[in-house]
Symmetry: C2
Amino acid sequence: MNVFRHVVMFRWAEGTTTGQQDEVAARLRELPAVIPEIREYSLGADAGVNPAAYDFVLVADFADRDAYLAYRDHPSHRAVVERYIAPIAAERASIQYTT
Amino acid sequence: MNVFRHVVMFRWAEGTTTGQQDEVAARLRELPAVIPEIREYSLGADAGVNPAAYDFVLVADFADRDAYLAYRDHPSHRAVVERYIAPIAAERASIQYTT
């Protein structure tokens, strides 16, 4: 079945600690429990295979575009972005597509 | 079950035609038939929700890192990259992680 998928990668700023990076992952992992629109939620740090790779990725699946927008604009999601991600993000790459 | 996932996004160069973009998708879609290491292969163009989004994304799953490397370095994959993707790619963002 087709889903509306959101993919986002981040490159963390120089000097970012492992603790800060782990905190981002931990806070994001709490979101599926509070945002019912999330169907699948997969995230992880770069495996270190390719030197030019980004540092962190999130792949999230939703029933449709509206469900994605509910997630994007959900206060709990915005709080994680503002408090934990934005302060350490140097670069961001994202896209949404229908699988 | 955990998989080794490769995610890559492209931003196409200005002036790239829809035909060129469709050709990339079509050529990539031929790869699962010739590279048995590919377990899941999902690709698509940006849905147009967020203005800063990249143009194209591919999410590919493999049993492990070695299976991904077999794909990455496979001549059929390299041919698609060199003939169809590289000539129109302005920006590339990628990461590999274990789900």
